[in-house]
């Protein structure tokens, strides 16, 4: 007879709740929750359009807590991260944040994320998916510790053109001096809080990092501070619209992690995703370098690009053709939307060489369901530079005080 263990109750509630959950539950109107990295999160609070326009015109709160976070620390932390990711981490100063991708041996992307340099030997790495296995194996031979701290830190994105004003009213004195990708330590009412000028909207915005027990009070005070500036919480759908306009990639939408693909040729390298600017061949060795170098020499067979699609019907999942007659298939759309701010029909798409060159016109095969009758439309789609929307205010330091 083996010793009896107390029964584990986890199966009764498979999804965890973030420290903001009670506040979010009170404010959402649709009972529209989705699972995100093991947490229950709100997909739409009120209506997608209302939330989207708040991102571009007011201030929004988005609960980031489920984003997976790791603490990477130790004497070799910098060397370790520099071997892990494709950018040069040696250039990342303390108090700065860097957007990075990391690849497997064949140069295919495993995930993307951000590295926060908290100290000379102390980093936080935020990822879309759990990475402890890869991060731990990458630590072989390095004097570094990697631990997951997702549940130890509550995170809230505060984004929108009035966000700086609202956060200063909330109590973050001097926040206006923070440059893009910079972070600062603050304290509000005795509660320590880290703010970084980062986000996924392509707009002016910040992310707040705090102890979980402080989360509800911070939420309440922010909502009060932002009342005159149209503050509202948003769900993942509105955020997704903003990120497409900003040209940001979403794992499992615009690419599939090389750890998850099972089919041949479904892995993507940073060069294929238009993220070549993240790959620094001049720094010391990093995972995938030799494979990426070979790909750079041979040239990519396909590239993720922006499309400006004719008409106003989003090209969701459209196959792309070289000519209007739709004979030669040259790629497919990964993300698409009508951009209310740009007043353009935009899309992100993987396009084969040589059709991915900027200015090339390809044809999107769009299917429309019009009251249960399917119609098909060939729309001209021009390859354009990303991002689609890049307002000055996202970089202006200090931001407008209003």
């Amino acid at each position: 007879m083996t010793a009896t263990r107390p029964p584990l109750p986890h199966f009764r509630k498979p999804l965890l709740e973030t420290p903001f959950h009670e506040r979010a539950r009170e404010l959402q109107q649709n009972d529209h929750f989705v699972a995100w990295a093991g947490y229950s999160t709100v997909d739409v609070f009120t209506s997608v359009e209302q939330e989207y326009f708040a991102v571009r015109n007011a201030t929004t709160l988005y609960d980031l807590t489920p984003m997976v976070k790791y603490r990477v620390a130790g004497p070799d932390a910098e060397r370790y991260l520099n071997r892990l990711v494709t950018r040069d981490v040696r250039k990342l100063k303390v108090g700065r944040v860097s957007y990075v991708v990391w690849c497997n041996d064949s140069g295919h992307i495993i995930d993307d994320g951000t590295i926060f340099r908290l100290g000379a030997r102390d980093f936080r790495v935020c990822t879309a998916e759990r990475q402890l296995d890869w991060f731990s194996d990458s630590a072989i031979g390095f004097d570094v510790t990697v631990e997951e701290v997702t549940a130890d830190i509550a995170a809230l994105a505060v984004q929108g053109p009035t966000s700086c004003y609202v956060l200063k009213r909330f109590g973050l004195a001097g926040l206006e001096r923070l440059k893009p990708f910079e972070l600062g330590e603050f304290a509000v009412a005795g509660r320590p809080l880290m703010a970084s000028r980062t986000g996924f909207t392509g707009d002016l915005g910040y992310e707040l990092w705090m102890r979980p027990e402080h989360a509800p009070a911070v939420w309440d005070e922010l909502m009060a501070a932002g009342r005159t500036r149209g503050i509202r919480p948003i769900g993942s759908q509105a955020l997704n619209m903003a990120r497409i306009e900003a040209g940001f990639l979403l794992p499992n939408v615009d690419f599939v992690s090389a750890e998850h693909t099972v089919r041949v040729d479904r892995d993507r390298t940073p060069l294929e995703l238009g993220l070549g600017w993240l790959v620094d061949f001049d720094k010391p060795h990093f995972n995938g370098r030799r494979a990426l170098l070979a790909q750079r020499e041979q040239g990519v067979k396909r590239l993720l690009v922006g499309l400006d699609v004719a008409g106003n019907k989003p090209a969701h999942n459209a196959l792309l053709y070289a000519e209007e007659a739709g004979r030669r298939e040259v790629g497919s759309v990964t993300s698409a939307m009508w951009s209310p701010t740009c007043k353009r029909n935009i899309a992100l798409a993987l396009v084969d060489a040589p059709y991915h060159a900027t200015g090339t016109t390809v044809w999107a095969d769009i299917y429309l369901n019009r009251e249960l009758v399917w119609e098909r439309r060939m729309a001209a789609a021009r390859v354009v530079e990303r991002p689609f929307f890049a307002p000055e205010r996202r970089r202006a330091t200090p931001p407008a005080d209003r």
């Binding site: 060397r79 041996d105 072989i140």
Partner: protein, 525 residues
């Protein structure tokens, strides 16, 4: 003669003067490359050395018989001219019974006295296994092909393998494919009823591996051993005069004669990298030596994780190297004896050969059970030689040396070797005494080399004789790991030439020769 090193350093720097390193050095130097061999120890030879373990008593430190180095390679390197002589060749293998009886393997008359059925079955079994072994030898002799490439050499190698298999004939091919994934225990139990024969065959299948005869894949290791022996030629199971060190001394002379430089007591601290290429080495003394190719005779873990450093490699590759199983379970016992021991019922001829204490396959399997739980075998299986029978010069006049491979001794037993060394030695001596009454009283000195000792003395990760387990998942195209299975490594200019490579361990020399051929093709003069 090889060119003198230019200002840019040597054409090739070889880390480790074990037999593979020396074969590699000799082959490269004969190919006109400037070669420097760096040996950490005070003498060349690596594991294949003869050394004094008690005043006046010398013994081969690890492997004590030469039975796997191809005769063609020995001839190619002219080792006879370099002083390699044999004290004895074509040595017999004799299985010892607990009851004091002995059975020479292959002696049909003796086998018939134990079992008429076994005597009838033996010739066909033996011939078939030797046929399979000859086929497998073709695999051992060349670097394995890569899968999924467009290279003709790879396609040809795969096609040749398929053709060789097909040429066995339908019945024999089917039989090979039936048994190759099996365990040795089942195979020998199907064929024979004599426990002594089953034990001897089962033990030979697992000698030097972390397996018992019931472990899947042990027919492969059995065939592997036979394959290497079949290439070694009729002299196989030979005892070099002066011990295994005489072989590596001859190899060193052959390398030097061809123009290679050998430095001993020159441990390498790390491999230097410049512009994503191996550029040379740094010695522990701090001395830097430049080389256009660096060839490591060290095992894969030592080479990649310690000498090169993981920062020059990709995570997936490092993960595979880290998972390479290399925990040894074979220990070595050396006894200095004041007289020749008497093993019951053995002939003088048998005493000069291999004596096996593996009275049944179950005995060997039970011995292995202990090591699974980090215990040493209470009743270990032994391969015993008495090298002084054929080569009296290894001990003072009238005295003798007993050299035994002892299984199983875990790398890190529960309680640690400091506490377990004496009880384990006593257990081995107890088994020896049971087979050779009076032996214990004749012991003048004892030396036990555990896997931990072998790791320390010969710088082999885990103290594994083959630098890594020989098993399907670490064999041929995936040995030591995908990405380094054809001697080249992910780092340009860095090569492996040791037992971590195909075809693996044993004093064979093919890994060194094959690595040299690859470097000759890739590194111009």
């Amino acid at each position: 003669m090889a060119a003198a090193p230019a200002g840019a350093g040597y054409d090739a720097i070889i880390i480790g003067a074990g037999h593979n390193g020396l074969v590699c050095a000799a082959t490269l130097a004969r190919g006109g490359r400037s070669v420097l061999v760096l040996e950490a120890g005070a003498a060349v030879g690596g594991c294949a050395v003869t050394r004094e373990f008690a005043p006046g008593f010398r013994v081969s430190a690890a492997a004590h018989l030469l039975h796997q180095m191809p005769a063609a390679l020995i001839a190619e390197l002219g080792l006879a001219a370099q002083g390699l002589e044999y004290a004895a060749t074509a040595l017999p293998t004799t299985a010892l019974d607990a009851g004091g009886e002995a059975l020479e393997i292959g002696d049909l008359a003796a086998l018939g006295r134990r079992s008429a059925a076994d005597a009838r079955a033996w010739p066909e079994f033996d011939a078939r296994l030797r046929r399979f072994a000859r086929l497998l030898h073709g695999l051992l002799a060349a670097p394995p092909p890569r899968l999924g490439t467009e290279a003709w050499s790879d396609k040809l190698a795969l096609a040749t393998l398929g053709l060789r298999l097909r040429l066995l004939g339908r019945r024999e091919m089917r039989e090979l494919l039936r048994i190759i994934g099996m365990n040795a225990y089942d195979l020998v139990s199907d064929e024979f009823e004599s426990g002594l024969l089953r034990g001897a065959l089962g033990f030979d299948a697992v000698l030097g591996t972390n397996f018992g005869p019931r472990a899947p894949g042990t027919v492969l290791t059995m065939l592997y051993r036979l394959a290497a022996e079949s290439a070694a030629g009729p002299q196989a199971l030979a005892q070099p005069k002066g011990g295994m060190g005489a072989l590596t001394q001859a190899l060193a002379r052959a390398a030097t004669a061809a123009g290679a430089t050998i430095r001993t007591s020159a441990p390498v601290a790390r491999i230097q990298v410049a512009a994503d290429r191996a550029a040379g080495v740094v010695l522990e003394s701090g001395e830097e030596i430049a080389g256009r190719a660096v060839i490591s005779n060290a095992d894969a873990k030592t080479t990649f994780l310690r000498l090169l450093g993981t920062e020059h490699l990709d995570t997936g590759f490092v993960r595979r190297v880290d998972h390479f199983r290399s925990r040894g379970v074979a220990a070595k016992l050396h006894l200095a004896l004041d007289r020749l021991p008497t093993f019951a019922d053995t002939t003088a001829r048998a005493l000069g050969g291999r004596l096996l204490v593996a009275p049944s396959a179950d005995y060997v399997e039970r011995a292995w059970n202990h090591s699974k739980y980090l215990e040493w075998s209470a009743r270990p299986a032994l391969e015993i030689t008495l090298p002084t029978v054929n080569d009296p010069g290894l001990a003072p006049a009238g005295r003798h040396v007993l050299s035994a491979i002892v299984q199983y001794a875990p790398y890190a037993p529960e309680g640690g070797w400091a506490a377990q060394r004496q009880p384990f030695t006593d257990a081995v001596l107890g088994v020896l005494e049971a087979h050779a009454p009076g032996l214990r009283a004749s012991v003048l000195a004892t030396e036990l080399l555990t896997p931990a000792d072998l790791e320390r003395e010969f710088r082999m990760s885990g103290g594994h004789w083959h630098h890594g387990e020989l098993a399907f998942d670490q064999f041929y195209m995936v040995r030591p790991v995908p990405g380094a299975a054809q001697h080249a490594t992910p780092l340009a200019g860095l090569y492996l030439c040791g037992a971590s490579c195909h075809p693996g361990g044993g004093v064979m020399g093919l890994a060194g020769r094959n690595a040299a051929r690859r470097v000759l093709a890739e590194v111009a003069r």
